[in-house]
């Protein structure tokens, strides 16, 4: 390969780099990829029983438009996804105010993006009821209302709130903790 070949190679490379832009990110939606990543991440949660159905509360903001519909769609999709360690998901939807009052046990609470405006309340509920809360919204880490933030839009991002995890007695494997972003 002579200089000419190298120049062509370099030019192609530069063109490819410059032509590539940043894609638009979807917001407010929990995708199937997000749910699959959440399912995978739960495989490293020590408290889940092997093989037993995982009960999930999908929590939505009562006052947000289409929030209940989106939560219902998310719950329906989650119920079709294989859980970790040969388990399945059994999910139902709850409004934020109902989460505070329910006496049902949930292994995991999935906070829809629509609930992020009530992060402080959700954090208080999670601590009081020792709930393993998960959200796809990065806001949940700032408001300390989710134990895990899992987002699969682009490069999979997983953030663990170590303080909240301790408060709700959620224990993940050391390997998992070493690989995620810890706050």
């Amino acid at each position: 390969m002579g200089r000419r070949g190298l120049a062509v190679f370099g030019a192609l490379l530069l063109a490819a780099t410059l032509l590539s832009g940043t894609p638009a990110r979807a917001t407010g939606v929990v995708t199937g990829e997000d749910l699959q990543a959440i399912s995978n991440a739960l495989g490293f949660l020590g408290e889940l029983s092997h093989g037993a159905p995982i009960t999930v509360a999908v929590v939505y903001a009562f006052d947000a438009q289409d929030a209940k519909l989106q939560a219902a769609q998310t719950a329906a999709t989650l119920n079709t996804i294989a859980g970790p360690n040969h388990s399945t998901f059994r999910s139902e939807i709850l409004a934020v105010k109902d989460l505070a009052q329910t006496t049902n046990h949930y292994d995991v609470v999935l906070l829809m993006p629509s609930t992020m405006s009530q992060g402080a309340i959700l954090g208080e509920i999670a601590r009081r009821k020792r709930l393993v809360t998960i959200s796809t919204s990065p806001v949940c880490i700032e408001t300390h209302c989710c134990v895990l933030m899992v987002n699969a839009d682009g490069r999979v991002q997983i953030v663990l709130d170590t303080a909240l995890a301790d408060l709700v007695d959620a224990h993940f494997s050391s390997v998992f903790e070493m690989m995620v972003e810890r706050r």
Partner: protein, 676 residues
């Protein structure tokens, strides 16, 4: 080999039992590569820092060859797979012998690359090389091949100088691997492999793999300078048992035993043509526990390797028998100390011993105590700094008889050597698309056991040959800057790096001379320094329905500063002119329906190789023109579990000069494989 396994089994079980008691407070599960890869959407590695990491977070320049890459390569051996990897040099000397280098500096029996299988060293210390055909691993049992470019001695210890290749096999506890294959091809190749996994629920699993191969060497002429040893049949056989028991959700014990045997026509370290046989055995025990003190691993293994070669040493016909035994015990703990810091502490003991050859009355040995620590600091969510330091303290020794007029006494080997190494890496994920790496590292390569005195050939008329306790380790300093970019619109990824390497105290196998009343003794010697500057560009991606592509380019300039007697390739080493300036690799593949089609092109610019000099010692250079080679594979799934494939290497040329050994012939393989 009688008595090898019982002692090690006993030691392994005792070690594991003790460790089980020690870690009774354990609290979560150990590394499941498949689950982690699925979770994070990219391969996971422990080869960068010792702790599990996503590849894109690793503070090293690393590439990973996946099991899909292996299958699509069409290769039936490891060098055949590695020759498609970006920035990797492969010198194919004969049909079954190849040397693999990273960022140039590749040579026959190259000592600069540390190779491991699941963390167990398969690098042979007596020459400092990797006998690829003798590795006890089948391709279908491999999960991924991790290639770390640049030194990583701070993690792996001595000899991780130019790079590290860690071959990670599938964990029988998590992965069902049941395969069988039959392959036939040119050069009278006949090969069969089989891998079976059996499990008892999720508490215990055993994987058995075995394979056997016969073929003949290339029919192209052996260069006259390389001698006239007649060719014989090449063969390879291996068997490996890998068992894991889960004592609890938090603790696993693994036991592995392997045996391999190979015989091949090859080019020897002094560049003569010979036939060599190698037998290896290994046994390994490992305890992994997820404890309140972090992820703890205790590993102990012993490797035995016996090589026999009919060779000519400094003009003297000799039967060389190398019998090396190395025992390694490692204890490590990786702990997420707080949200921003992860620390790994490790200690290691290593004992290596080998009898002298062809004069077999002496033994060379050394023990090494090592301590290391790795500290990963997440300065911000997007900026991480990793620092690793390691100290190795080596005690060298020799026992046994010495020949008359030998220039040393056993007391000359009573030496201690303390060496430190480090790896530092700063990784900045500037945004979703861009990441930058800044790397500095220092590695150390020990002289081989032969270089330290295990090779001992006495001549009554010519030049005698011996290793020496006075040869110094080779060190390397590496500095590099890297930039990764995701090209989402093109569904492609760009990885670039610019590197500068300084090698001090490079060694040659016969550069020294000692005079005694018995005559001249040729010894290894440190011949000088070398530095390399270069850059690498790797771009790969996918498009359309089922298409995949990749391209890479490496440019490298090496400058040697050797002693006058070793210049211009006169003393078995010339990194400057045996490293090609340009290395280009391209691949294009498509999968659709039942078909997998893949093509690979390698271009390597002109370089020089070494051939034996007319006298008893020394070498001269020979020009090797630039060449382009093309490999291809077409696979067709006959059923869900049965695949037929035809593949070829160097398919556009019936024969081609790639080294100073015999020319490489076209190779075509037909295979039938079953996965169930």
């Amino acid at each position: 080999m009688t008595g090898r396994f019982p002692d090690l089994l006993r030691a392994g079980f005792l070690g594991c039992a003790a460790a089980t008691l020690l870690f009774a407070q354990a609290a979560a599960q150990t590394i499941d590569y498949a689950a982690l890869e699925q979770t994070f959407g990219e391969p996971v590695t422990t080869s960068a820092t010792g702790s599990p990491q996503r590849v894109t977070d690793a503070p090293v320049d690393m590439i990973i060859i996946t099991s899909d890459d292996i299958r699509r390569s069409g290769a039936h051996d490891l060098p055949g797979i590695l020759r498609h990897a970006a920035g990797v040099d492969v010198l194919q000397w004969t049909n079954d012998q190849a040397d693999v280098g990273v960022r140039g500096y590749d040579q026959v029996y190259t000592p600069r690359l540390l190779v491991l299988v699941d963390g167990r060293q398969v690098y042979a210390d007596y020459f400092g090389f990797t006998p690829w055909s003798a590795l006890p691993v089948e391709l279908s049992a491999i999960r991924q091949i991790e290639i770390v470019k640049g030194p990583n001695t701070a993690l792996f210890g001595f000899n991780a100088l130019g790079g590290v290749i860690n071959i990670v096999t599938r964990n029988p506890l998590y992965d069902d691997t049941n395969t069988a294959s039959l392959t036939g091809g040119t050069q009278s190749l006949a090969e069969g492999t089989g891998v079976v996994t059996v499990r008892d629920g999720d508490t215990a699993a055993l994987r058995a793999s075995m394979g056997g191969r016969f073929d003949r060497d290339f029919g192209t002429p052996v260069p006259t300078d390389a001698g006239a040893t007649p060719r014989r049949v090449d063969y390879r056989g291996e068997a490996d048992l890998d068992g894991i028991v889960r004592l609890s959700d938090k603790i696993q014990i693994g036991l592995e035993a392997s045996h391999s045997a190979e015989g091949q026509n090859e080019i020897s370290p002094d560049l003569t043509f010979e036939y060599s046989t190698i037998d290896t055995d290994s046994i390994k025990a490992q305890l992994s526990a997820d404890t309140i003190a972090g992820l703890v691993r205790l590993t102990a293994y012993t490797n035995w390797i016996d090589q026999r070669a009919d060779a000519v040493v400094a003009g003297n016909p000799s039967v060389l028998v190398f019998n090396d035994r190395v025992t390694v015990v490692q204890l490590e703990d990786s702990l997420a100390v707080d949200p921003d810091n992860t620390v790994r502490l490790a200690g290691e003991y290593r004992f290596n011993t080998m009898g002298t050859t062809p004069e077999h009355d002496g033994t060379i040995f050394y023990s090494v105590y090592s301590g290391s620590t790795t500290w990963q600091w997440a300065i911000t969510p997007s900026l991480a700094l990793t620092n690793a330091v390691r100290v190795d303290d080596l005690s060298l020794g020799r026992s046994g008889l010495s020949p008359q007029f030998y220039p040393f006494t056993d007391a000359d080997w009573n030496k201690n050597l303390t060496k430190f190494s480090y790896n530092s890496g700063l990784v900045w994920h500037a945004d979703e698309q861009n990441a930058f790496r800044l790397i500095a590292s220092r590695g150390v390569q020990l002289p081989s056991l032969n270089g330290l005195g295990a090779l001992l050939s006495v001549s009554s008329t010519g030049v005698s040959v011996t290793g020496t306790p006075d040869v110094k380790p080779t060190t390397i300093a590496n500095y590099e800057v890297g930039w990764d970019r995701n090209l989402d619109d093109l569904d492609a990824r760009l990885r670039t790096s610019v590197f500068h390497q300084i090698t001090d105290d490079a060694a040659s196998i016969e550069g020294g001379a000692l005079f005694t009343p018995g005559g001249l003794w040729a010894t290894p010697a440190n011949i000088g320094n070398s530095r390399a500057d270069g850059f690498e560009i790797l771009l790969n991606g996918t498009f359309g329905e089922g298409w995949r592509w990749g391209s890479s380019y490496r440019f490298e300039i090496v400058h040697d500063e050797f002693a006058p007697f070793a210049q211009n390739g006169a003393d078995y080493v010339d990194y400057d002119r045996t490293t090609p300036h340009h290395l280009v690799k391209l691949n294009l593949g498509w999968s659709g329906g039942r078909w997998d089609l893949d093509g690979y092109t390698n271009y390597q610019s002109r370089m020089f190789g070494l051939i034996p000099a007319p006298g008893p010692v020394g070498t001269v250079e020979e020009n090797i023109p630039g060449y382009t080679s093309v490999d291809a594979r077409a696979g067709y799934r006959l059923t869900e579990s049965i695949t037929a494939a035809i593949s070829g290497q160097n398919i556009l040329s019936s024969h081609q000069q790639q080294t100073t050994g015999p020319e490489i012939e076209r190779r075509v393989l037909l295979s039938l494989s079953i996965a169930y």
